[in-house]
């Protein structure tokens, strides 16, 4: 029985007693515990069982709880069983309430937890399609707690940085040393955090616009840590006040998120990452991603794909990627297909498809002709575009490359743009309710006797996509013209019910442009927000939908914020506002090129670029670095050899503090390590990546941290450390009077619960207030263990709704009706004007050339920052291949700590097509070196077959660690040997290229956004 029908049928209880379809309730009588212990001597004892009356009987030796999954950053929900005696998590599976573990029909918040467990069991007799899963990583994480390389004590470096030798010290000693500084290592005086913070002088008088000395604190973090990241950001921005906080997004795939947004908003600093509507789409293209394999939740992606393939004969999909993965099965060969593409050829394919679609008039003409929402409404469309808007092409005119405005025509405001009415040919405002001309190019009288050369956005697009021939585009992407035409026809044969999805894999220097073009493809057929089309509101959490830090009960940001001044050191901002630019102008110099690249479009907060700035001493070097749960040296393409010397040297960087349970390739250089809580020991609250609707996973620590305690008896972790240094230095937002409740009463933050308890209360009371849970719900989900923390901090009436959220492992809004007619329901839509021409982008200058960006996607060869062609420097005859990388199904840089994941494969491979390999006398199984123009190489085993695109070498991520437990660790003279299985294989990041057109240390950049690029870059191969 389908769960939807099942719920419609009436109350759960009624169905349970009458409609269990003859399922036989298991009884303990049929198989005794003694028998089980003989047949399954090493197996776990279940956390509960169901008796003859289908009543859940708890196992008194275990407890059950909901938590967040920490296997990766997809942010799924977990249900875990915990051994009471050892306080160990025994197993973890998916939380059936969350929107990422139970695809399609997650349980409603009203379902009591025990009832939910019954529905997941065999005795319910319900369809097993309602299962709530965790992927292999999620299943494997319980082993992390026992990892011998886990850090649970406070450590201080012994010997030189990077030797991985440590002594354990007390938390209090650590605090004192990092705050007050001194000659801590016999290497000379180290400035403590207090001195750095309190110094009002400029960090570097030559660069006054980069702020005071306190900006010389660098903080680096990972992504998708939800409320924990918010906690850290609150410390960095509002309490300390430094702009220099780096994350991993921009060396992961940020340019594609920003690029998608170029097609969705008249802005250059927005984000969008639409998903395929698996449930109704007729044709889906996955490019630079495989369904569920990068970001958009593996659990939900796997299920939705499998369901669409199995249940819908009218579902077809193609995965376009340099390497065949596991998602296009031979069994479904009539529905799914893998199409190899040369690494770096993604934009070429988008342009080729657009060329075919536009030249053959296969676009959704009426949709594109609508200049306004009113017109869209009239013709049955849900959104409209700016395809008909007139772009001024009169050189020298103030509106050159901007839209012709009503103001310029003397008929209205500057915000209102002009179009040509389709029926009358008259110039009218874009507010017109009538269709407008898609194709216009020529001189136009705009009134007052003024004539201007103008062209519609769509006419410009047609011209743009025809600038390069189909044959050239085909050659660039390695896909035949016939196949391109087939794709274009298929994409335009199902109305709006087609979709295209990407995620981090289209990572050449034009990744931002690719994503802009990809969104344009969907715009051509009006697939945005359409049933079966592009779903734009996935993965949204409460923090994005509501301001959960600002009421309704507690205003967690209500304190006097620290002053925050200066550009960040990676130069995100408008170059023309910089001191450097002004100085050059004052001296009569050409201000272009800038000394170093600027991110004029988007604040990248790229940990890699911040370290590059440090290595270049430009604008300054950092005095202290706090690094939490991130590993740019391993993960950022090209970075290691650019910055490592400047990190190793205490003279260049005085103090490095790592907050982490693991020693990785980056924080191995730390002076001090503060053990962070691990996985289920954490407070957590986060959106769910890949969810179809609004929801948050929220959890309290469900096991006690193994970490040492402070002298006051608190667990040592990231939050406690930041609280304690803030209190010692006197930073606002911590200690007494850290924030206020809505009545204006001051409240303190002395430990993590002081922050998370009111936050959770806010979420539980946002919108409609949640009800209170039953005693049974509370006891069964082990929320009773933490209830005192809530009772001590909340008003009595606030405890119930907050606890209710925890008894479901989070809060999830319900989708009753997914669609409204041919579109998503309003809550699931991102209603916006889709951009055929992005005016904002056309106003942003390139920091090298000083020229404006184009308002439309650009197809180009890969270029360095200075505009020179990559292939002009590193020629095809010398470096015949383009490099691509990918994230393996389960193995990741972090899951290497999980023995059940490392056991799934000893090594990764160097993948290339067998015909390409043969040219170099290489065959499957040989050892070979992949050579980078940087002069470095990686060496590994070759897999040469037909499952790789031609002219492309592909290497998977997650292998080749040299830290993270792969090498020996010494604490207090005791050596903990490295674990060989963590160090096998190769990591393709350190050897990858950087940008030789930049001064000093550098990274290879996305042309539009400045994110670190890693694909499509020249490499060679040599047999060993």
């Amino acid at each position: 029985m389908d769960r939807r029908d099942f719920l419609k049928a009436g109350s759960v209880a009624a169905v349970m007693t009458t409609g269990t379809l003859g399922a036989k309730a298991a009884t303990k009588a049929s198989t005794s515990d003694a028998e089980i212990s003989r047949y399954a001597p090493t197996s776990l004892t279940p956390e509960y069982y169901f008796d003859q009356d289908k009543q859940l009987v708890e196992n008194p030796e275990q407890r059950f709880a909901f938590s967040k999954c920490f296997g990766c950053f997809n942010v799924c929900g977990a249900r875990v069983s915990i051994d009471n005696k050892t306080d160990k998590v025994l197993r973890a599976v998916g939380n059936p309430y969350t929107l990422t573990n139970n695809a399609g029909q997650p349980f409603t918040m009203e379902t009591p937890p025990k009832e939910a467990m019954l529905q997941l069991s065999a005795v319910s007799g319900l369809s097993q399609s309602n299962r709530a899963t965790l992927c292999g990583r999620g299943n494997a994480v319980p082993d992390a707690f026992e990892d011998k390389h886990r850090i649970t004590r406070c450590l201080k470096r012994v010997g030189k940085r990077g030797e991985n030798r440590w002594q354990s010290i007390s938390y209090e000693q650590l605090l004192k040393e990092v705050i007050e500084g001194g000659d801590l290592f016999g290497e000379g005086k180290v400035e403590g955090l207090r001195t750095i913070h309190d110094n009002p002088a400029l960090a570097n008088p030559r660069y006054p616009d980069f702020g005071p000395v306190k900006n010389q604190l660098l903080v680096s973090t990972s992504s998708e840590q939800g409320a924990r990241a918010d906690f850290l950001h609150r410390f960095v921005k509002e309490s300390w006040g430094t702009p220099n906080i780096g994350n991993k997004d921009s060396y992961c795939g940020h340019q594609q998120v920003a690029g998608c947004a170029l097609g969705c908003f008249d802005a250059v600093d927005e984000m969008a990452l639409p998903q395929v509507d698996y449930e109704e789409t007729k044709f889906a293209i996955f490019i630079g991603t495989n369904p569920g394999l990068s970001g958009n939740g593996l659990n939900v992606g796997s299920r939705r794909l499998a369901k669409a393939r199995s249940d819908r004969p009218d579902f077809k999909y193609v995965v376009i990627d340099p390497i065949l993965r596991s998602l296009t099965s031979e069994v479904d060969n009539s529905q799914g297909e893998w199409l190899p593409i040369v690494s770096g050829g993604d934009t070429a394919l988008m342009f080729a498809m657009m060329q075919y679609i536009i030249n053959h008039d296969r676009y959704r003409r009426a949709y594109l002709e609508a200049p306004s929402q009113a017109c869209a409404d009239a013709i049955g469309e849900i959104n409209y575009t700016n395809a008909t808007y007139l772009v001024v092409k009169e050189p020298g005119h103030p509106l050159f490359n901007q839209f012709l405005t009503a103001e310029a025509c003397g008929v209205g405001e500057a915000e209102i743009k002009m179009v040509i009415d389709k029926a009358t040919g008259q110039l009218v405002t874009g507010e017109s309710e009538q269709p407008a001309e898609l194709f216009y190019k020529g001189k136009l009288a705009i009134g007052n006797g003024v004539e201007l050369q103008v062209e519609t956005a769509f006419s410009l697009l047609k011209h743009r996509v025809n600038e390069t021939s189909m044959r050239q585009l085909s050659e660039r992407c390695g896909i035949s013209v016939a196949k391109i035409e087939e794709l274009a026809k298929e994409f335009t044969s199902h109305g709006r019910s087609v979709a295209i999805e990407t995620n981090t894999g289209c990572n050449a220097s034009d990744g931002g442009q690719f994503a802009f073009a990809m969104i344009m493809l969907a715009t051509l057929v009006g697939a945005h927000n359409a049933k079966g089309g592009m779903m734009h509101m996935g993965g949204v959490g409460y923090a994005a939908m509501y301001d959960i830090y600002d009421g309704p009960l507690y205003n967690l940001m209500d304190f006097e914020h620290a002053s925050l001044t200066g550009f960040n050191a990676e130069r995100s901002g408008d170059y023309e506002l910089s001191h450097e630019y002004q100085q050059k102008l004052a001296k009569g110099l050409d201000p272009y090129p800038a000394d170093q690249p600027w991110n004029n479009t988007f604040v990248q907060d790229n940990s890699g670029e911040l370290l590059v700035a440090h290595a270049n001493k430009n604008p300054f070097q950092f005095k202290a670095w706090i690094t939490w749960a991130t590993n740019p040296i391993y993960g950022c393409s090209g970075l290691q050899d650019q910055v490592e010397d400047s990190i190793k040297d205490p003279k260049q960087l005085g103090l490095i503090i790592a907050l982490d349970p693991y020693i990785n390739e980056t924080n191995v250089f730390a002076d001090y390590i503060v053990p962070d809580s691990l996985q289920y020991e954490q407070w957590a609250n986060s959106r769910m990546w890949g969810s179809e609707f609004v929801g948050d996973v929220a959890c309290v620590p469900v096991v006690t941290s193994r970490n040492v305690k402070t002298a006051q008896g608190q667990e040592v972790n990231m939050e406690q450390f930041l609280i304690d240094i803030s209190k010692a230095i006197g930073l606002p937002g911590f200690g007494e009077k850290a924030f206020k409740d809505v009545e204006g009463r001051d409240l303190p933050i002395h430990e993590p619960a002081d922050f998370y308890v009111p936050l959770f209360a806010n979420i539980a009371h946002t919108g409609s207030v949640l009800p209170s849970p039953t005693e049974e719900d509370i006891a069964f989900t082990s929320v009773d263990r933490v209830l005192p923390l809530f009772k001590a901090r909340l008003k009595p009436e606030e405890v119930g709704p907050t606890a209710y959220m925890l008894t479901r492992g989070g809060r999830y809004e319900r989708v009753d009706e997914r669609y409204e007619g041919e579109f998503f329901n309003p809550m699931m839509r991102m209603d916006t004007q889709f951009q055929v021409y992005n005016e904002s982008l056309a106003r942003v200058k390139d920091s090298y050339s000083g020229e404006f960006n184009d308002g439309q996607p650009v197809y180009d060869v890969d270029r360095f920052w200075d505009g020179s062609a990559v292939r002009a420097l590193w020629k095809v005859n010398e470096y015949p291949f383009n490099l691509s990388t990918f994230k393996l199904h389960l193995r990741s840089p972090y899951s290497v700590a999980l023995p059940r994941i490392t056991a799934l494969g000893e090594t990764n491979y160097i993948h290339l097509h067998e015909d390409d390999a043969a040219k170099f006398d290489i065959k499957d199984g040989d050892r070979a070196q992949v050579l980078s123009p940087k002069g470095k190489y990686i060496e590994g085993i070759v897999q040469a077959d037909k499952t790789v695109a031609r002219n492309t070498i592909v290497v998977g991520m997650g292998y080749g660690h040299w830290c993270f437990g792969a090498s020996d660790l010494e604490v207090d003279g005791q050596v903990i040997p490295g674990i060989p299985s963590r160090g096998t294989g190769v990591c393709p990041n350190p050897f990858n290229i950087v940008d030789p057109s930049r001064k000093g240390a550098s990274l290879y950049r996305d042309k539009t956004f400045g994110s670190t690029a890693r694909h499509g870059v020249p490499v060679a191969i040599r047999k060993v």
Binding site: K24, R38, Q128, L134, G136, S302, I323, L324, V331, Y909
Partner: protein
């Protein structure tokens, strides 16, 4: 493009004799089981829903206390060339808990036997002497192995500690694609029965005459006849 399922149906409809290929549909196996009228636990694996994610492999190891590199279930993967196009083949393997198990009769101590009440083939660890006769007798390579920690033979027993308590096997609970379905083949209303009715799945190496209780939807006859091993080298790192 060739629709493999349709081809299968055509084959089943009578084209077998002309190909000379041995074709043994699962129907007689199921009929055999059904004739006994007893509860017979079985697994149906819909290969069309399997995405090769291996969540089953990991959850099985955690649940059953196996060492990370000793597997009761595994998903060997490799590429397949069909009409010049490349696809992946994901094949979850586990003990078939056969109706006519070749492992039982060779066991000198009676440690391995087929349970009357549900058809699960178990190994009684207190009786197992580790002689490995059952491992050699089993036509499904690697599904039986010696558990390094106990020294006795280990294998999938459909998570008897869970399934005898009203729960689902660990691999089924966490199968991300929803490919693995578990239940009583003799309960006509069960999901496995419904899937078997709808899809006429095949079993692996039917020619070995062991009447497996693991059924595969989407397997070709040729693939079903092939011998696979749980211990295949794990070279599909993607």
């Amino acid at each position: 493009m060739l629709d493999r399922r349709r081809t299968l149906k055509l084959l089943a409809g009578g084209a077998i004799a002309t190909t000379g290929m041995m074709f043994i549909p699962a129907d007689p196996v199921i009929a055999d089981i059904r004739r006994q009228g007893k509860k017979r636990l079985a697994m149906v694996i819909d290969l069309g829903r399997c995405n090769g994610c291996k969540a089953c492999v990991v959850s099985c190891g955690i649940e059953n206390g196996n060492l990370p590199d000793e597997h009761r279930t595994q998903v060997p993967q490799h590429s397949v060339d069909l009409n010049g196009k490349q696809y992946v083949f994901n094949l979850p393997l586990l003990c078939n808990n056969c109706d006519k198990p070749s492992c039982v009769s060779v066991c000198p101590t009676g440690a391995t036997f087929k349970r009357e009440q549900d058809g699960i083939v178990v190994v009684d660890s207190q009786l197992c002497i580790g002689c490995n006769y059952c491992i050699q007798a089993c036509p499904y390579d690697g599904v039986r192995f010696t558990h390094s920690a106990t020294g006795t033979v280990d294998k999938c027993n459909f998570c008897i500690q869970r399934t005898s308590r009203g729960l689902l096997p660990a691999c089924v609970e966490t199968c991300t694609g929803g490919a693995r379905v578990f239940g009583d083949i003799n309960d006509p209303e069960s999901e496995v029965s419904r899937l078997i009715r709808q899809h006429r799945p095949l079993v692996l190496q039917a020619g070995k005459q062991t009447s497996p209780n693991v059924f595969y939807i989407g397997l070709t006859q040729d693939e079903s006849n092939r011998a696979n091993s749980i211990n295949s080298p794990q070279t599909w790192q993607r």
